[in-house]
C-alpha cells in the first residue's frame, strides 16, 4: 500500500506543478519558467528546514512567497513579449535558475558533516518527513491537503470575475484591453500566482525526494509542467489532474510492466492524445456532459 501512497505523493507534487502552468496558460501565455519557480521553492524550503531548522509548513509558506516574488519580478519584463518569444524567454529564465543552483554553494557544518546545497553535487539529506516519523500515508495526506487547497482556490477563481478575465485575456488580448482590462496587471498576477503554486510544489518535492540537484529541474520538467494542462485541457482544473494521472499514473507507473515498450509508448501516446483531443481530455463540451451526468439536465451556476 505504501507504494500507492508514495505514488500519490508524486502525483500531488506534479499536480501542483501542472496547476501552476495552468493559471498562466489561461491568459494564453506558455511559460517554461515553471520548473525554475519549482526549483526555487525546493531550495528555499529545504534550506529552511535543514539549515534553519524550521517546521515544514512555514518553510513552504516562505517558499511560495519567494516563488511569487520572483515570478512577479520576472513577469514584468518577460510579459512584454508573447507567443514563441515568451516561450523562449521563460525557457531561458528556467535554465538560468537551474544554472544558478548549479553554481550555488551554501554549506554549514552540522557535527562532523556539512549540510546544505553544494553546486553540482546537489543538496543531500532533506529528511524532514522521516526524521519526524511521518508515515507514507501521513505525508501523502499532507501533500494532498495542499493540492486540494490549491485546486479549490483555482476552482473558485474560475468562478470569479477574475477567472473569467484571465480567460478573456487568453481569448483575445486586444478585445480584453478595449473592454477595460489591464493586460499587464492580469498577466503578472497570473504568473505570480503560478510562481507561488510552483514553488509550493517544489518545496514539497524537495522533502519527498530528500535530495535535490540542478539536473532535476531541467527543460524536461518545464515541458511536463505545460504538458499537464495542455494534455488535460484548459476547461477546468480537473483537466490538469486527469493529465497528471494519465502521465504519472498510467504512462510512467501503469505501463512499468511493459518493460521496454513503456518508453516508446510514452512519446507515442502523447502524440496520439494530441491528435485525438487537440483541446485536451476535458474541454468545455465534455465538461458539460459530465455536469449533466452528475447534476441532471439543470445548468450549473447561472
Amino acid at each position: 500500500m505504501d507504494f500507492y501512497f508514495g505514488l500519490a505523493q508524486l502525483i500531488g507534487v506534479h499536480t501542483l506543478l501542472g496547476l501552476s502552468a495552468y493559471v498562466v496558460l489561461l491568459t494564453g501565455q506558455v511559460s517554461l519558467a515553471q520548473a525554475g519557480f519549482f526549483a526555487i521553492g525546493a531550495y528555499v524550503a529545504a534550506m529552511l528546514t535543514v539549515l534553519a531548522g524550521w517546521h515544514l509548513v512555514p518553510a513552504l509558506g516562505a517558499a511560495a512567497l519567494t516563488g511569487a516574488t520572483t515570478a512577479c519580478a520576472v513577469g514584468f519584463p518577460a510579459l512584454r513579449v508573447k507567443g514563441l518569444m515568451l516561450v523562449i524567454a521563460t525557457l531561458a529564465f528556467g535554465e538560468g535558475v537551474r544554472l544558478f543552483f548549479f553554481n550555488f554553494d551554501y554549506q554549514i557544518a552540522r557535527g562532523d558533516v556539512k549540510v546544505g546545497p553544494l553546486g553540482g553535487e546537489g543538496f543531500r539529506q532533506i529528511r524532514f518527513f522521516p526524521e519526524n516519523g511521518w508515515t507514507t500515508l501521513e505525508v501523502m495526506l499532507f501533500i494532498w491537503i495542499f493540492v486540494l487547497l490549491v485546486m479549490a482556490l483555482l476552482w473558485w477563481l474560475d468562478r470569479s470575475r477574475y477567472g473569467a478575465v484571465l480567460r478573456a485575456v487568453g481569448e483575445d488580448e486586444l478585445a480584453a484591453q478595449s473592454a477595460g482590462i489591464n493586460l499587464t496587471a492580469v498577466k503578472v498576477s497570473a504568473i505570480t500566482l503560478g510562481g507561488a503554486i510552483a514553488a509550493l510544489g517544489g518545496g514539497l518535492y524537495a522533502h519527498y525526494a530528500t535530495h535535490i540537484e540542478h539536473l532535476s529541474f531541467g527543460i524536461l520538467l518545464a515541458t511536463f509542467a505545460i504538458a499537464y494542462p495542455i494534455v488535460g485541457g484548459l476547461a477546468s482544473v480537473f483537466g490538469t489532474l486527469a493529465a497528471v494521472l494519465f502521465v504519472q499514473g498510467f504512462l510512467v507507473e501503469g505501463l512499468r510492466d511493459l518493460g521496454d515498450w513503456r518508453n516508446l509508448l510514452f512519446g507515442a501516446l502523447i502524440v496520439l492524445a494530441m491528435n485525438l483531443r487537440p483541446r485536451g481530455f476535458l474541454d468545455a463540451g465534455n465538461l458539460r456532459a459530465i455536469k449533466r451526468l452528475f447534476w441532471g439536465g439543470g445548468r450549473g451556476a447561472p
Binding site: R159, R161, E171, D172, S178
Partner: protein, 250 residues
C-alpha cells in the same frame, strides 16, 4: 460642450499618413457619424481614440481631461467603449461572462471593493447584466458560448459588452456590416435607445441610409483628413463629399 476633442491628431505608419492633422469634436449627447471611403482613416481614428495606437502628433481630450497618453484600459474606465469592425468576442466564454468581464467603469470600481469586484461570484452583477441581455435580445442565452452564437447575435452581444462598461461615449465601428435590412432597422432603434440613456455615440459606418437616418451630425474623412462636417442634409449636398465618394467625374 465637447465630450471628446481631437486636435491636430496624426498617425503615421512608416511613410503612410493614415490620419493627418485631424480635428474632431464629439458633443455631449449627440450621435456623430464618421464616414469616408475605404482607407480614409476611419478605423485608425477609432484605434487612436481608444489608445490602441498612440498618436504620432496631436492631442486628445475627453470630458475635459487630456487622455493623449492614457492606456487603453484607462480610457475605458474614463468612459470610452467600442465595438470592432470584425467582431472580437471572447469566443470561449459564455455570453454572460463576456458581459461580466467588461464591467470596468470607474463607477463600478468605486461602488465595490477590490476583492468583491474581482473575487466575488456572479450574483453581485446579476441585475445589471440581466438588463444588458434584455437590451441585446439575448435573454435566456446567457450560458451559450459566444462562439456558438449566430452572426447577428454576436454583433448584438458585442454592442452589449461595450455598454457593460457604462460608457459616456460609445464608438461603433461599422456595426451594420453584413446585416440585412431588418437587422439594420433593429440596430437603428438600439442606437437611438442608447442615446436616450444619455450615451454619446460616434458611429463609423459605410451604410449611408443608416448614417443619414440616425445621426445628428456627420464628419467626412478622406486621405486621413476631414473634408467636411455638418448635418446629414448638408453633407449629402456637399460637393467635396460627392467627389470623394464617386470620383471626379460627377
Amino acid at each position: 460642450m465637447a465630450l471628446l476633442e481631437l486636435q491636430g491628431v496624426s498617425r503615421h505608419f512608416g511613410g503612410v499618413r493614415a490620419i493627418d492633422g485631424l480635428d474632431l469634436e464629439v458633443r455631449e449627447g449627440e450621435i456623430l457619424g464618421l464616414i469616408g471611403p475605404n482607407g480614409s482613416g476611419k478605423s485608425t481614428a477609432v484605434n487612436v481614440i481608444t489608445g490602441l495606437y498612440p498618436p504620432s502628433a496631436g492631442r486628445i481630450a475627453f470630458d475635459g481631461r487630456d487622455i493623449t497618453a492614457a492606456a487603453t484600459h484607462r480610457r475605458l474606465s474614463e468612459g470610452i467603449a467600442r465595438t470592432f469592425q470584425n467582431i472580437r468576442l471572447f469566443g470561449g466564454l459564455t455570453v454572460w461572462q463576456n458581459l461580466w468581464v467588461a464591467q470596468n467603469s470607474a463607477r463600478d470600481r468605486a461602488a465595490r471593493g477590490f476583492l468583491s469586484r474581482w473575487m466575488g461570484g456572479q450574483s453581485g452583477a446579476r441585475e445589471g447584466i440581466g438588463k444588458l441581455l434584455a437590451f441585446a435580445g439575448l435573454a435566456g442565452r446567457e450560458d451559450e458560448l459566444a462562439s456558438n452564437l449566430a452572426f447577428g447575435e454576436q454583433r448584438r452581444l458585442e454592442f452589449a459588452r461595450a455598454l457593460a462598461a457604462k460608457p459616456k461615449l460609445l464608438l461603433l465601428d461599422e456595426p451594420a456590416a453584413g446585416m440585412n435590412a431588418g437587422e439594420i432597422a433593429d440596430l437603428d432603434e438600439r442606437i437611438r435607445a442608447v442615446r436616450e440613456r444619455g450615451v454619446t455615440v460616434l458611429l463609423i459606418e459605410h451604410h449611408m441610409e443608416l448614417v443619414m437616418a440616425v445621426t445628428d451630425r456627420v464628419a467626412v474623412l478622406n486621405f486621413g483628413q476631414k473634408i467636411a462636417e455638418g448635418t446629414p442634409a448638408q453633407i449629402q449636398a456637399h460637393s467635396a463629399v460627392r467627389k470623394a465618394y464617386l470620383g471626379g467625374d460627377h
